[in-house]
């Protein structure tokens, strides 16, 4: 009986901890996705090259009006339709897509449905 009681209590506590972690996960993700980070300026991202986790895709913000997105060996230039706060709306033939600037080191690209990370600027420039 005592074991059963204690087991129930442990189960309850574990449940509460899992629930709190789940809640924290939802909140932290929504904060990242829905809020504008402080001191985001598009000029700081110009000429920065970002690469996806699998290194399949590379993205370069050329200037305030254009970006270059390459998938494997295929490279395509896209024009920026709108920039507001930390979101870039990009024109595409099929459907517009968005890029969210999270911080200088990473961005989220809707087109490739994932994060992209900053690669060493100089190295990238040399490769190009």
């Amino acid at each position: 009986m005592l074991f059963k009681e204690n087991f129930k209590k442990m189960l309850k506590i574990t449940g509460i901890i899992i629930f709190i972690i789940f809640l924290a996960f939802i909140i932290s993700t929504s904060v990242i996705a829905l809020t504008t980070p402080k001191n985001i300026n598009i000029d700081d991202f110009i000429n920065c090259v970002y690469v996806s986790k699998d290194s399949e895709h590379t993205l370069k913000i050329v200037d305030n009006e254009n970006i270059v997105l390459s998938a494997g060996k295929k490279m395509q230039k896209y024009s920026i339709k709108d920039i507001e706060q930390e979101i870039l709306i990009i024109n595409d033939k099929e459907q517009e897509f968005a890029i969210k600037l999270i911080d200088k080191s990473k961005i989220f690209c809707e087109k490739i449905k994932g994060y992209m990370y900053l690669v060493d600027k100089e190295k990238e420039t040399n490769e190009t």
Partner: protein, 735 residues
């Protein structure tokens, strides 16, 4: 002198006027922008209203939204100009959950902070131990300076006496004053304008009407953006005001939710009660809460009676809708005040007299035009005569406006209800969860149950007063001791010259109760009893009752959502007591500022927990219902035990304590004077002092002999005396 008195009389009004002036200064120098916003809002509302009537074409221009600068000054929540940005954010938010990196980031951060906590926790624990040691070293100097106050505490008490206490008292009194003063509206309006509340509220309704015809995401987004931009003055107040304000609002919601929940439980209980039999008997082990649950049911039954009387009065009113019921009610109340109506029977006499006077033409029947509005009512089956309905109404109104309790019990019960009237009809506030009722004014104590009222045959007192019971809720605790079974009443008989359970006719009263307590088919009488065992009741009484075998109630629960907040406060208070205050009590006899502060904090936290635990607490009880004939058919019924009803000084579980206290007082001794054992091995003398049967059997198996001999001798003596008396009497008769 007059000026001083004048100032004293109107000091709170002056305070309010000063606050109004300060608010106006704030309005001019800080919140002036809010007034410009108000004009913008009115313009926008007007544009929306015009927009409703504009013909919808593809080129229809939506009402112009005032330009909102995208600067941090335009409000705390800054929405982008382009609604597509928001949509893009939402799309990205959804996609983030499908990316493994999101989980990696989160869990790596979680592990990092968990590690940080693990690293820091020994240091935190160590710091706490050190603080505790430091406190012990600094503040726990042993002394026995009982009642002495240290210098810092003296200083604080002096400062508090001249500044904090008067300020707090003044603020409290002012708050009470402003709650009733009309000047509060001026203050409220100024601050609603200052904080842009009107600018936020004004366009809502026009926009609602506008969007009924022209709903689009763009105009909805623009509207929300506009509304959010107007919150800037609220956020200007700063977190120190906003956070407590938000917490207060959340707390209000929690309380409203808890009250709603408790009220639904109470309604459920009432529905269960409405299906009850006329006589119920609760039994259960000691401490199962029989009297507690019975008291709750009795109090709820009282509310049922009040509501039922009101409901039936309305039925009467619908039969003769144009009868001047209010004048009739006022006349009944006048007669009650003059003590001409004091019971249902006297109410019937009053109506009979009214009918006689009306027939004789000496009473106008409150100017009722019976020729136009009829004096009979056809209910679909039979015709009801006006005066018969008036008789029922008089009885119902007597019951309804009854200033007192319907409860007649053998232990005191306190009812809490408040009569409300502005001089016309009367209403009762019977809400158990209205905690603002005045305790003294709303308290009605149950009537003393003279058991002769419910004895139909042999009574202690045969006075006609004892036949006066007409309606009410009879509540008898420990009923098995009153209506004992055959074994306990072996020496009594129906021929006994004194009342006893075999000849008093209480069960006859219970069988007939419906006959004298019914109005319009509803019986306004009910009997609740409780006792230890069902079989302790005599068979006749038991078989006409519904037996309710009580089960132990569930653990205490609370209707407040997130009650762990209050519980945590209670735990912190207990922690302070355990870790600091108990030691202080033990080591120090004087009072210090540090412990004064801790005591204050502990008390505030504990009150926060304890008061809410009592107000919003409940437990789930269950009772197994069984017919008194005990034929084996049982039904389990759930019922809610609501602390706000039973623990609000409704009854005392130790109601008979006065009797025992008196006995103890008369004894002149107490446990302090009882003898103690000398060792763990009992001596023969100590066993003898126990006066136990088994002890006496061990000591002297013939211990009963002297008692029997003494009793026999007394009997013989009595016999001889009786014989002598009889002889003397016979001699006297002969002479």
């Amino acid at each position: 002198m007059k000026l001083k008195e004048f100032c004293k009389k109107y000091k709170y009004t002056f305070t309010t006027l000063i606050l109004i002036c300060i608010s106006i200064v704030f309005a001019i120098f800080i919140f002036s922008g809010a007034y410009k916003d108000l004009i913008e809002s009115i313009k926008l509302a007007f544009n929306y209203l015009i927009g409703i009537f504009q013909e919808k074409t593809e080129t229809t221009i939506p009402p112009p939204i005032p330009i909102i600068p995208s600067s941090p000054d335009s409000g705390v929540i800054i929405l982008p100009e382009n609604p597509a940005i928001i949509i893009a954010r939402l799309r990205i938010w959804g996609q983030m959950y499908l990316t493994s990196d999101t989980y990696s980031f989160f869990f790596s951060e979680l592990i990092y902070y968990a590690m940080l906590l693990m690293v820091w926790s020994p240091a935190i624990i160590l710091t706490f131990i050190l603080i505790k040691k430091l406190i012990v070293a600094i503040f726990l100097h042993e002394n026995t300076k009982h009642g002495q106050v240290t210098l810092p505490l003296k200083g604080y008490l002096w400062v508090s006496k001249v500044s904090i206490t008067p300020s707090v008292n003044y603020s409290r009194n002012w708050w009470q004053h402003i709650k009733e003063s009309k000047l509060r509206f001026v203050l409220l309006i100024i601050w609603a304008l200052n904080l842009n509340i009107f600018s936020i509220l004004i366009p809502i309704l026009p926009y609602y009407f506008y969007c009924c015809f022209n709903l689009s995401f763009t105009n909805f987004y623009d509207f929300i953006k506009f509304e959010l931009s107007k919150t800037k003055y609220i956020f200007m107040l700063g977190l120190i005001i906003i956070i407590p304000a938000i917490l207060i609002v959340i707390d209000k919601f929690r309380i409203a939710y808890a009250l709603h929940k408790l009220r639904s439980f109470e309604e459920y209980n009432r529905k269960v009660l409405e299906g009850r039999e006329l006589v119920t008997y609760k039994d259960g082990v000691m401490g199962s809460g029989k009297t507690r649950l019975m008291t709750q049911e009795v109090l709820q039954e009282s509310v049922i009676f009040t509501n039922k009387a009101f409901e039936l009065k309305n039925v009467c009113k619908k039969m003769f809708p144009f009868f001047p019921w209010l004048l009739y009610e006022l006349d009944i109340e006048k007669n009650i005040k003059e003590k001409k109506i004091y019971s249902w029977a006297s109410a019937i006499d009053y109506v009979a007299n009214l009918e006689k006077e009306f027939n004789e033409g000496t009473h106008s029947l409150f100017n009722y035009n019976y020729k136009k509005y009829r004096n009979t009512y056809y209910n679909g089956l039979v015709n009801n005569n006006l005066f018969d309905v008036l008789k029922d109404y008089a009885k119902l109104h007597f019951l309804y406006i009854f200033v007192g309790s319907y409860i007649v019990s053998n232990y005191p019960i306190r009812e809490s209800k408040e009569m409300m009237t502005v001089g016309n009809s009367v209403r009762w506030d019977c809400d158990f969860f209205n905690f603002d009722k005045d305790f003294e004014e709303s308290s009605y104590y149950s009537k003393i149950l003279d058991f002769d009222y419910i004895r139909m045959l042999t009574k202690f007192d045969e006075s006609p007063i004892k036949d006066s019971f007409e309606f009410g809720i009879i509540s008898i605790t420990e009923a098995d001791k009153e209506q004992a079974n055959a074994v306990q009443t072996l020496n009594d008989s129906s021929e006994s010259p004194y009342p006893n359970p075999k000849n008093d006719g209480i069960s006859l009263f219970e069988k007939f109760i419906r006959h004298h307590a019914t109005i319009m088919g509803y019986c306004f009488a009910v009997i609740f009893k409780d006792g230890q065992r069902a079989m302790s009741l005599n068979a006749d009484t038991r078989e006409i009752s519904t037996l309710e075998h009580l089960q132990k109630p569930s653990k205490e629960k609370n209707a407040l959502p997130f009650f762990f907040i209050e519980k945590t406060a209670g735990h912190i208070s207990n922690f302070i007591d355990r870790k600091f205050l108990d030691d202080k009590e033990y080591y120090r006899g004087d009072n210090t500022l540090f412990y004064y502060t801790l005591t204050y904090i502990s008390a505030v936290l504990y009150n926060f927990y304890y008061r809410r635990k009592n107000r919003y607490g409940y437990a789930i009880a269950s009772k197994i219902l069984e017919a008194g004939v005990m034929d084996g058919k049982e039904t389990t019924v759930k019922t809610y035990l609501l602390f706000a009803i039973v623990y609000a000084d409704a009854y005392k579980t130790d109601t008979h304590s006065a009797n025992f206290e008196e006995k103890s007082r008369k004894s002149g001794t107490g446990i302090l004077n009882y003898e103690s054992y000398q060792k763990t091995k009992m001596s023969d003398a100590e066993l003898d002092k126990q006066n136990s049967y088994s002890g006496k059997n061990l000591h002297d198996p013939d211990w009963k002999k002297p008692y029997i001999e003494k009793a026999n001798a007394e009997k013989e003596e009595k016999k001889a005396l009786d014989k002598a008396k009889a002889k003397k009497k016979a001699k006297e008769i002969e002479e």
